[in-house]
Symmetry: C2
Subunit: 459 residues, 2 copies
Amino acid sequence: MTSQTPIEYLRSQDERHIEDLLEYARIPSVSAQSQHAEDLQKAAHWIANRCRHAGLTVDIHETPTHPIVVARTPNPEPGKPTFLVYGHYDVQPPEPFELWTSPPFEPRREGRNVYARGISDNKGQHLAHINAIEAWLQFGQPLPCNITLLIEGEEEVGSTSLLKFLPEHAQELACDAVVISDNGIPSLKHPTLTYALRGIAAIEIRVDGPDRDLHSGIFGGSLDNPAMVLCQMLAQMRDTKGRITVPGLYEDVQKLSAYERRQMAKLPSNPDKYRRFLGVPQLFGEKGFTPEEQRTARPTFEINGLTSGYQGEGSKTIIPSWASAKITLRLVPDQEPRKIIAAVKKHLQRLCPKTVRLTVRHGHGGKPYLVDPTGPLAQAALRAIQAGFGCEALLAREGGSIPIVSAFKEHLGADSLLIGMALPDDNPHSPNEKLSLDAYAAGMRMSVHLWEELAAAMA
Amino acid sequence: MTSQTPIEYLRSQDERHIEDLLEYARIPSVSAQSQHAEDLQKAAHWIANRCRHAGLTVDIHETPTHPIVVARTPNPEPGKPTFLVYGHYDVQPPEPFELWTSPPFEPRREGRNVYARGISDNKGQHLAHINAIEAWLQFGQPLPCNITLLIEGEEEVGSTSLLKFLPEHAQELACDAVVISDNGIPSLKHPTLTYALRGIAAIEIRVDGPDRDLHSGIFGGSLDNPAMVLCQMLAQMRDTKGRITVPGLYEDVQKLSAYERRQMAKLPSNPDKYRRFLGVPQLFGEKGFTPEEQRTARPTFEINGLTSGYQGEGSKTIIPSWASAKITLRLVPDQEPRKIIAAVKKHLQRLCPKTVRLTVRHGHGGKPYLVDPTGPLAQAALRAIQAGFGCEALLAREGGSIPIVSAFKEHLGADSLLIGMALPDDNPHSPNEKLSLDAYAAGMRMSVHLWEELAAAMA
């Protein structure tokens, strides 16, 4: 134990932190590929050892697939709040190899970036927290809170073992909040707290007409066309202003507060660059909202797939027997997947003519997620981010879902604070994944401040 | 030469006509299957011999695939009109064999039906004409017209050789009208002259959005969905009254005359039986027209296929990069395929938002066809049908296209009279194809009268 402040200690360990990162990234812990099963074990033990070295007590829980590592700050004090840091040591498959500039498991340092599979998603991000906790533990003063680290090896393949482990170990994982650093920020100058995620509701619509494909010459004109009926029904689900027309759909949508909109407006935005990135001739979204708001804070009705009749070369002169569409709606707080699916189904049934038979099948549903951005935990996180990154921390929403966030809410009753360190060009899930060493260092500093800020907020 | 009238002669030859039919039907002349090449030759020579035996002069024209048989009544008289009878000796593949009650090329006689592949489509129908012409030729009085028979072996595979042969032999095939018995009638009590066919115009529509499938969570809401755009455009092509909304589409549509509508109303009609036959919960078509009119005398806009995004099991949360639809419009006299395609394309371009890129590709086009139902040839044919079948002959339109009819019009400048002998349960192209021996006999009698009636009409 030294008298170095955690921040001073971090600075003194800079090169070691990078070396650790490279060593961890060399383990090809690809959870999707069974030939890497031993590498998953190796990664689990590597990170467990790293936690032990940091001064944490560690348990490795074997599962039918890959171990779950649980590490804790020593001598937990019941009077102090407890926070749980979530991460995963498994990585995406690196293929296609030929698109990598250097081998995916031979980390390459170039300036202030390190290139390797899994270095940003998620090895570097949870390692930053461990480094920060170590910095606290070597300090003369006690940590202001208890910290549990939960690091799994199946995030990229659906977290099957963890979703079973969570309810079984709810008591020992009990915490006041979860901290997840597994997402991104717009830039080093725009670090963010992600305080809301969209939910999802999936349905499949099928319209059945004649009991077989019919000759469009002999019969066409005297019966309805299921593909046309499907198009006409789907066409009526969204108006020209980009609003979903399902009655009641917006009933439970939380309005964006002036504070939220101001915060979101500070995020870097370049609509034309964004348009070019998407490869579309023109952006489109719900009138009255910015693209950032549209894609994160507003519900959507999206056709994911259409299938009907003949799809091969040339033409086939049929009235198809059926037509189907795969649909997902993105939901925002406080929309309920079940309620939304029921509303959509009812609307479709009302729109469907009697000339066909309609079937609506429910798919999966996931609730939207929101941590009150003005609440003490969110504000504490914002202060820590600001201190760590050295510039104003912004609030952001994300358009997608992070299923584990809902699982933590359900099984531990805890909110999650999403504090990313990844940059937009980090290429997670793509060739040439990288991590910015500046983001890595800022993340560590943020983590040092975070425990103090969160503990103070809970006091 | 006897003094038997043609009708008397036909009666006397009844059993031989059936035996001939069975013999012809035993030849497995499947044009789609190369292992049957010799059988096609066999069928061509069989029908050529049958024509010679009937007293006709015959030429067998070899082609790169299957021969074309041309037979003529002897000593053509330039002062008399000339009519051309078209038929085909090739048949559809018989598969699936297991659905046949008896082997497809072992004709089975059951009551007044004979079951065999190709017996209705088209062997029995052109054989009836040959039998009738033979009956004329054995008669003491000269035939009132010259007759040319043109029998090909590739009708079921696109008539490639004939479509080359026609312009090359236009002079020797010159005629005042073509007679084609290769279609059906509603019942033996409702024999018909088919005086109109619908044309066709095929297009393929593709809507391109983002240059790759995009994550519907991360981006959804800020860009348009190509599948939704496609649905919204297609939905606007037809209104709730079943009318196509493309401006100018009905401009050249010939109105049905009161006479035509009266005639069509006499055709047997049982909407509920028809609905059950189609397997739909409710019929649908353009308001103000009967189902028979809708499916034969009115244009249609039919979606033949839809393709977009993910079509596999479960869901995939994407905004698809593109969506496409295969479309065919059925056209009625006097709509022009090119004009209609241009009008549809223009309408689609007007409807398409700037958020996507639209591509419209032209497919094949075929003109609609009409013989004036009140003209002398049609009226002569109606009288012959009435005399042959022994009941009122009706006028009918067909909803499909018969490409060879357009070819005769183009290369020989001749109208076609479509006088079918097939019944609705004859199963052409399906297992257990059959021919009614009563229809066969009525067809022969009709043909005997036809030459007299047509010649008189031309006088």
